[in-house]
Amino acid sequence: MSPRDGDPPEHHTQVGRPEAQLPATQQPSVEIAAGGRNQLRSKQAKTGGWLWFAGCLVCAVVIASPLAVVIASLLHDSGGAWQHLVETRLSSYALNTAILVTGVCALSLALGVVPAWFVARFDFPGRPVLAWALVLPLAVPSYVAAYAVTDLLQFSGPIQTSLRSLTGWTAGEYWFPSARSLGGAIVILASTLYPYVYIASRIAFGGQCAAMSEAGRTLGLSSNGVLIRIALPLARPAIAAATMLVAMETIADFGAVEYCAVDTLTTGVYRAWFGLDSQVAAAQLSTLIVAIAVCLVAVEAVLRRRQRHYNTTSRCARDYRSTIAGWRGVALCAVCVLPVSLGFVIPVSRLVYLTREMPDPEGLGLVLRYGQNSLLLAVASGSIAAGVALVVVCAHRIRRQRASYIAKLVCRFGYALPGPVIAIGVLMLAASIDRWTHSAWRSVDGPLPTHQLGRTLTDLLFAYQSRFSGIAIGIIDGSMRSIGRSLDDSARSLGLSATGVVLRIHAPLVRRALLGGALLVFVDVVKELPATLMLRPFNFDTLAVRVYQLASEERLGEAATAALAIIAVGILPMVLVSREIDRGR
């Protein structure tokens, strides 16, 4: 794995590099492109940046530590639990997980790429609204979507009931798709996760030169031909990376999957932990999940490398959108409306209906207070994640070592880990740290208030970073790659220190990506449930916790109020993200 990731190879002669470079007054001293590990680096780049490098390693260690702790517990004996698992369940967990991930990725591709192409390239009725509406399903937690959809579709739900009254059929006489199935889980998860693919596709398609598709047209391609032979291949690395993200989220999902009665590796972790009473079998399953996460992150890294060659010059004119009117325009509109309906309109309308029937019994005041807590956590986490991402990505940029490259990758694993696994690791860690500080302190002073760490939100914020900072890192990393290295070199040669380069060159240039990353982490934190349940301090409940409290008592109708609040909090960031995409064109 060459440390030279993400940047164009440097040759002696001036080659076709992206235009976003300054004509450097001082060329960097000798740069030799070689396949080997040791290369001469420009003199300027070799100095400085130690602080950032250290910061990057610290971040990586901190973020990966819950993971490491969980794996470390592998060293214990697990008794017959692992055996029992292997005998009865492991193969079905693995198979289900594989089918689930494949199905969700495939469906997300269909739901995300096609509308993105239409929105990027055409003007049709409804386009202005659909452009940002297609992003909205990300604001809906997967477990909420599962509740709403199964409520709608179940035997005693409104659809089947009206069907039966219309046709006179009774139970067993007709077949109706069940939401609580592997297929249902696939549809539900895909409908809330496709926006990742949509966003990546839109950015990719929007960033392509008009000239590319026009050249294709003059060379004999029809409009569809342009999509298939030019636009899609060029966008493929970005789309594939987004699909990996979707895969990771699917593996880590617990709420929706459990509700749909699908046994995956993640629900298996739960079962092993509690049903079979074996912490260690749970850890072993978690390790399997981690292995899969590693593969996914590795694949994504390879795809990103390929992407760098596809970066177009910033001088290139973007496409005009051609107007499609008449019934064809309506057809385009319909195709784009479908994903929004599936992932947003249908669940939300059901929730609105439910909340009017049975509002939260504790009233709006309580919901607002929980909302405050959710917001607090989300804002803090988003900001921290942006900061961490900046440190990690820039550190590798300044001093390109293998260590910082690996650190960057490691930070991304957390995204594929289920919340409970990370929470368990955080618990173990926090407890050890606590004991250590307690004994250290005691030797100095008298008895201390117990469990300092747990009384504040540190545990929780820590877990969130471990789980979600990968998103921000991925986004900022992608944005950083489009900045030519000679910018850095020129800045250094003009006297900026490494820190100066980061703060005054990098940060402003990736500002949009920083915001986008922070917003996505924000939304994820508002939706997060399992780690929040396990790690929060006293008297601190969030909206997600409230939804869980009522849902676990099977009072889904009453949970709808808090669920709608979660979605409402998430809408604004998603609209902002969409606006950023538009502006970034």
């Binding site: 009665a261 307690h438 006293f538 008297n539 409290q549 109708g557």
Partner: protein, 339 residues
Amino acid sequence: MSIALAITALVSTWLATATSHGDDLEVSVYSARHYDVDRQLYERFTEATGIRVNVVSGKSDELLARLEQEANLSPADLFITVDAGRLYRAEQRGVFQPHDSTTLNARVPDELRHPDDLWIGLTRRARVIVASVDRVEAGVRLSYEDLVRPEWRGRVVIRSSSNIYNQSLVASMIEHAGPEAAEDWSRGLVANLARKPQGGDRDQIRAVAAGEGDVAIVNQYYLAQMMLGSSADREAASQVRVIFPNQDGRGTHVNISGAGLTRHAPNRDNAVRLLEFLLSDEAQRTLAEGTQEYPVVPGVILSPILANWGPFKADLINASMLGANNPEAVRVMDRAGWR
């Protein structure tokens, strides 16, 4: 700029929650019960005694893991959970200490508390059979064992085996009849199911009401809550009736929610006071009416719905047994193919 924002956010969250906990007047609870009525009771306790109640609610096993990890530095004074099996598990993990309160012991019957005062019941739940008003004749007496008979083929709905209430039911069968009998029963039940186990207890009731099945096994309070719920719920609840199983035999399976003093409780006395409050007649009545559960203290007035269903014979097995047999119960259900 975002760094500045992050720092401010971090500092403010820190300040917001790192309130001084140095004073004496508090008690901290890890509770797997998260009913709104619990919160009201805690508030009432605080009004009456001036002792602040700190609560973290969550899933029982997660709270237990948290307690274990925190060990002697844990801030929790009380651990409240639902299902006797979980109380047993907590006890096995050494999480409890004896409360040694004769007041408490006097109020609660023997089978609903731990012999060595490690935990004590707070409410009771019966796992009853609900039957379709239309398709099952009135006045019929049923047992759990009846439901595996051929005449019930394709007519039974029940939730997943991953649910602790079902696990405890099977655990009680293991205690009474042995693991093979329990496995036979599970297999027979699965063969009679109208649909794959899915959803919660309320979903089973709705399924019976809608005609997908004819009988279901659920906890009684879900039905009672539905009778007071939304119009759709009330409609569904009116389509079924309650049958207390095994009235001719050992009695209906009864589970408890209960609480125990944590081993390293910093505010032991306050915790005992809270327990005594929760077991007072008034609190028991509020609990029962709020959640439609049965109180543990005898003689407390029941909620109207429960009173209407009348008294029933309860299985007097000690709740500890439900926990002891839980791992075996899970294996039995796995082997029987009960999803």
